[in-house]
């Protein structure tokens, strides 16, 4: 806020307390979870002495490791394709005019606002019908698995990536691209040497978002996963519904740490890029 007035007296104390409470609210559960993952007690919320056994159990559990592997593989494929398609969409919307542009713009927003559940149902029905048609027409028998999950993740991630890259593109003056062309660059070279370096932070942000959303996803993945194909969140979700055990604590903490690592890495990357 420009020319902001510093709060005084009672309101200042109230605001500060509210602020600290919010942060406490945010971080207490996470901190407690980490603490309890080292607890010896079979009861997940009780402290019973320090142990690493739950982490050992995770490493031993082939199901868990399998699920983790799948999550990562899917996330990588999904991120790469979503970033490419999302960036192209952003460029099309911000730098060009064409027939049907408004429809495209609206279409890109739909996956963002649609509730998880509806999208899960949509894709479940879609793959069901799609496989049936393939079977009836061509005798090809496909099953849900890696690709049904990946395709589903890409379907919503394109929109998210494009929103982030678009924001970056919109903030970038078209002067720069005009200057590049004025200085003898071809359209492609202008993109490569001027536009691309400028939107790179946006692309990186979009990539991070896509990866996070893919790694996080539960409902949609649950619906379009096939037998033998599960991702870590779906696996954990299943465990939780069966009954809470401390093993889940340790897996959760591992997931927590890896997301924080991802975020930390990207923040670092942005800082070096900005300073450089």
């Amino acid at each position: 806020m420009s020319n902001a007035v510093e709060p005084r007296g009672l309101s200042k104390i109230g605001l500060q307390i509210n602020g600290w409470l919010v942060y406490l609210f945010f971080y207490a559960p996470i901190v407690l979870l980490v603490i309890f993952s080292f607890s010896e007690s079979r009861n997940v919320g009780k402290w019973g002495g320090f142990t690493l056994s739950w982490y050992e159990q995770f490493i031993d559990s082939s199901n868990a490791r399998n699920a983790l592997e799948n999550s990562i593989k899917i996330a990588i494929v999904v991120t790469i394709i979503s970033v490419i398609l999302g960036t192209m969409s952003a460029l099309a919307l911000e730098r060009f005019t064409f027939k049907g542009k408004r429809v495209f713009d609206a279409l890109l927003y739909l996956p963002i606002i649609i509730p998880d559940v509806t999208m899960a149902v949509m894709l479940l029905l879609f793959f069901g019908e799609f496989f049936e048609i393939l079977d009836n027409l061509f005798g090809i028998q496909l099953r849900k698995g890696f690709w049904s999950i990946s395709i589903s993740h890409i379907a919503f991630n394109i929109s998210f990536v494009s929103v982030v890259v678009r924001a970056r593109l919109a903030g970038m003056s078209t002067d720069l691209e005009e200057a590049a062309v004025d200085l003898y660059a071809s359209r492609w070279k202008a993109f490569r040497h001027v536009t691309f370096p400028q939107i790179l932070p946006g692309i990186a942000g979009g990539a991070l978002l896509a990866m996070t959303l893919s790694l996080d996803d539960v409902v949609i993945t649950q619906f379009v996963a096939g037998p033998g194909w599960t991702t870590l969140p779906v696996y954990v979700f299943g465990l939780i519904r069966k009954g809470v055990t401390p093993l889940i604590n340790s897996i959760s903490v591992i997931m927590l740490v890896s997301s924080m690592l991802l975020v930390g890495l990207s923040l670092l990357a942005e800082r070096t890029r900005r300073g450089g």
Partner: protein, 353 residues
């Protein structure tokens, strides 16, 4: 000698809006040429068409005799200095300046040498490893100049390059640009809305308004002999007195006063008389002055400018501004004084509305 830039019948329409309306223009080689006019008059659009950043809707545009109107900008031997410089933020000054050479495929070593030469020419030596964000506005502007000139363009285009600078710096840069143009020798096409700037720097000025070209002439001619009312009003300060021609020597003002003003218009044409404030003299009310080149009036306002005084003199419902330099010994008048304002009859111009 072939003209550097020639526009014939150039028109640019954006949908229903005509931004540039049937412009014919010739820019000679080696001249400092300004496109002058208020915002939205089409001067920037015209410049962009020369650069190739817009294609004309109609007309012929040639550079040194070769038609280039529909040629892509990266194939024309002209370069542009943009209004906000458009320096590439992620590249150093050296890489910015060498960008055009790199795009043309010039070898790395030669690119670096030529870029450094240019950087020294604009007096930025030692700063080549900096990024644009680490430089002042004036420095950024020199980088933009160097980046354009290093490619040895046939014509340099400048889109209001001094707009973002503060007054003192702008005046310095005006002189520097003029000198640079003389040194480099190519034509500079300079877009501005500041008429004082155009008068200071240009060999010739083209005044534009609402897409149309109103007058192309030297600064003196534009100032002394404006082609129409808009030009007279836009350039410098002037008194515009409306009236009608009664013959080739006389114009009758709207309040009935007759003024001696030579003109070539048919009788009864609606015109305006343009009298520059500094070409008038103010004296105490006297009857001996030439009634056809003076008016009797009363001082209504006085503005003290330090180096001059501007008197607003009212006669009937019209008023006229008189600018008197603040010289010692010169008679000073007060509000309410009865005065006579005189001028030389050939110091005024008659323009059609």
């Amino acid at each position: 000698m072939t003209a550097a830039v020639e526009l014939k019948g150039i028109t640019k329409k954006f949908g229903d809006v005509t931004a540039v309306d049937n412009v014919d223009l010739t820019i000679e080689d080696g001249e400092f040429f300004s496109l002058l006019g208020p915002s939205g008059c089409g001067k920037t659009t015209t410049l962009r068409m020369i650069a190739g950043l817009e294609f004309p809707t109609e007309g012929s545009l040639s550079i040194f005799g070769e038609e280039v109107g529909t040629l892509a900008p990266n194939k024309r031997s002209v370069n542009t200095v943009f209004q906000n410089y458009a320096l590439f933020p992620h590249l150093t000054v050296l890489d910015n300046v060498g960008f055009g050479l790199k795009m043309q495929g010039v070898a790395k070593k030669e690119t670096k040498e030529r870029a450094m030469e240019m950087i020294e020419l604009v007096q930025l030596a030692g700063l080549e490893t900096r990024k644009p964000s680490q430089m002042s506005g004036g420095q950024q502007q020199r980088v933009a100049l160097a980046r354009a000139l290093v490619n040895q363009p046939k014509v340099l285009l400048l889109d209001e390059p001094l707009g973002a600078l503060d007054l003192k710096l702008r005046q310095e840069m005006q002189l520097e640009l003029k000198k640079l143009q003389r040194d480099v020798g190519i034509s500079f096409v300079f877009v501005t809305h500041d008429q004082e700037e155009a008068l200071t720097m240009s060999d010739r000025i083209a005044v534009m308004h609402e897409g149309k070209l109103l007058q192309v002439a030297s600064p003196e001619e534009i100032y002394e002999s404006p082609a129409n009312r808009f030009v007279a009003d836009f350039i410098g300060r002037t008194n515009l007195l409306d009236g009608t021609t009664s013959d080739n020597e006389t114009v009758v003002l709207s309040n009935g006063t007759s003024i001696r003003a030579q003109n070539t218009f048919p009788q009864g044409t609606k015109v305006s008389i343009s009298i520059r404030p500094e070409r008038t003299k103010i004296t105490q009310r006297s009857e001996s002055s030439d009634p056809l080149s003076s008016i009797q009036g009363t001082v209504e306002t006085i503005t003290y400018l330090g180096n001059a005084r501007v008197y607003g003199v009212k006669f009937t419902w019209l008023s006229i501004e008189v600018r008197e330099e603040n010289r010692p010994g010169l008679e000073v008048f007060n509000v309410g004084d009865d005065v006579t304002v005189h001028w030389e009859h050939d110091a005024i111009s008659v323009v059609e509305d």
